[in-house]
Each structure stands twice: as C-alpha cells, then as structure tokens.
C-alpha cells in the first residue's frame, strides 16, 4: 500500500536533484561577497527548512494520532521525525563547514540561528530514548505523540525568537533592506528547496513501505503460529 507510487516519486526526486545541482554549479552566479563558498547555501538552507517543517509535520501527525487513536498516525509521526533528524545531522555538518570557510570557526556559540537549531536538534534527539524507555506500545505511542506535538509547537516559536533577536551575523538573504536574492539565485534556491522536500517525502515513503512490509511479515508469522524471527525494534512503531 505504501509502496504505491514510490518508483515515480524516486525518479522525480533524482531528476529534480540533478536539475538543482546543475543550476547551482552552472547557472547561479557567484556571490559578490562570499564567492564560490556560497554554493553551500543551496544545500544547507533547504535542508534546514525541510527538517524544521518535517518536525512540524511530525507534530501534526501526532495530533491526528491523539485525536483518532489510529496507530498509523503514530508511525507517520515517528518516520517524519526520524527523517528530519537525519536531515538535521546534515544541516549541522554542512553548516559547520560553511562557518569554518566563512568565519574561520567550525561553530560560533553567540550566533542565535546556529544555537537554536542545535537546541531543536538535541530536543528531537531525545525522542528515541524517550520512546525506548516505555515498554507498553500504546503508552509509548501516546507519550511519543504528546512529545511530538509539544516539540513541534516549539519549532516555530524558536524560529520567531531567533528572528526577534535581530542578529545580523547570520545573513538574512530573503528580505533585507538591500533587497533579497537576485532572480537567478532565487530560482536556483527554489529548485533546490523543491528537490530536498521531494527527497524528504521519498525517504518517508520508503521507510513507511519497509515498516509496512515488516509488519505484514510479523502478522503472517503470528497467523501461522510460527516462531518469531530476529528481534525487531522496540522503538519503531509497527505499520499495518
């Protein structure tokens, strides 16, 4: 069920990524201030935006789980958060590389954007041990949903707080007094954003498909009264 449409989605994602990379390296002009190093922007910022939106989406799925009690929504929430955490790792590493090239330091503690993203990432890193600490599947799903809703609400609040901090250290390129990105850079950025968002959707669907297949095998084993296979994860929810 979950695997339906996965192949065209994967093809679209690869095509979009290829197009985006071509635009980044052959179409978008070099930045006047940062030069070639600014090319990291087209990877780092879309991934950060997708990860943050992914956390919020995980929270929305968690609300649906709490409202309906349907375990499927808990699985969606888990997978959305899981993929967003992976994206978060990429954001932190690419951000550190960009910081080193631009500022001469791998990490700057007095920069609110960096620190706030780290706080959000660490918050979601606690999601796994939190789930793992609860044995009962129903309680685990319920508590994890409450966590996802609370943390999901924290993401936009955190974003607003950083905006209000008025720091000019981290470049604001979309709406500044000097104008935003030039058209060619904006087009490239939007293509990259679409490609990374598509990648996120594809990976979520891929993971759900694998979980669904695993869940069906387990049910088949139970129906046949066959001995259980290898021990499976206590954290990851089953998908029907």
């Amino acid at each position: 069920m979950y695997g339906k449409g996965l192949r065209p989605l994967s093809i679209a994602t690869v095509a979009m990524l290829a197009l985006s990379l071509s635009l980044v390296f052959f179409y978008a002009p070099l930045d006047g201030d940062q030069g070639f190093i600014q090319k990291i922007f087209y990877l780092h910022v879309p991934m950060a935006m997708t990860a943050l939106v992914g956390f919020i989406v995980g929270g929305v799925f968690a609300i649906l789980h709490l409202r309906s009690g349907d375990r499927r929504w808990d699985a969606y929430s888990y997978v959305a958060i899981h993929i967003s955490v992976i994206f978060g790792v990429a954001v932190l590493i690419t951000g550190a590389i960009w910081a080193k090239a631009s500022w001469g330091h791998w990490w700057v503690w007095n920069e609110p954007t960096l620190v706030s993203f780290l706080i959000v990432f660490l918050l979601y890193a606690t999601y796994y041990p939190f789930r793992y600490a609860i044995e009962d599947r129903d309680r685990q799903a319920r508590y994890a949903s409450v966590f996802a809703v609370t943390a999901g609400a924290f993401v936009p609040l955190n974003f607003l707080a950083v905006r209000m901090a008025q720091s000019l250290v981290h470049p604001r390129v979309f709406a500044t007094s000097n104008g935003g990105l030039p058209g060619s850079m904006m087009l490239t950025f939007l293509c990259c954003l679409a490609a990374i968002a598509l990648l996120w959707v594809t990976l979520v669907k891929f993971e759900l498909t694998a979980k669904s297949a695993s869940g069906q095998v387990k049910r088949l084993r139970r129906a046949l009264d066959a001995p259980a296979g290898r021990a499976t994860s206590r954290i990851a929810p089953e998908v029907s």
Partner: protein, 67 residues
C-alpha cells in the same frame, strides 16, 4: 567574524569546503539507503521463511487428508 564584507576565499580553497559539504550530504543519503537495503533484505529472508512454513503446513494437511 562577519561573512558580509569578508573577502571571498580563493576558488581552490573554497572548492574543498563546497565539495566537503556536498559529499557529506551524499554520504548520509548513501548510508541511509544502505541501511534500508539491509532491512529490506532481512524482510525478504523472513518472508521466504514464512512462505516455507506455510507450504510445509499445507503439505502436512494434504498428507493427512490423503490418509
């Protein structure tokens, strides 16, 4: 400290950082896909086991029915 107004790095030096960032992204995706491939292989193996059990049970039933 400010990137705005800071001199741009020469291309050979900037290229290493840009390549590093894109390689990190690629490696993360490849590692994730490799982990998922291993998971799918395990599911496939389990499915083969379950299919074998089901066929064994069916053969046993048919044998009992024939007697």
């Amino acid at each position: 400290m400010l990137p705005i107004g800071a001199p741009a790095l020469p291309l050979d030096e900037a290229g290493r950082y840009v390549a590093g960032a894109y390689v990190v992204f690629l490696v993360l995706i490849v590692v994730y896909v490799a982990i998922m491939a291993a998971k799918l292989q395990r599911i496939e193996r389990e499915l083969r086991e379950v299919t074998a059990i089901a066929e064994e049970r069916k053969a046993e039933k048919e044998e009992v029915g024939a007697r």
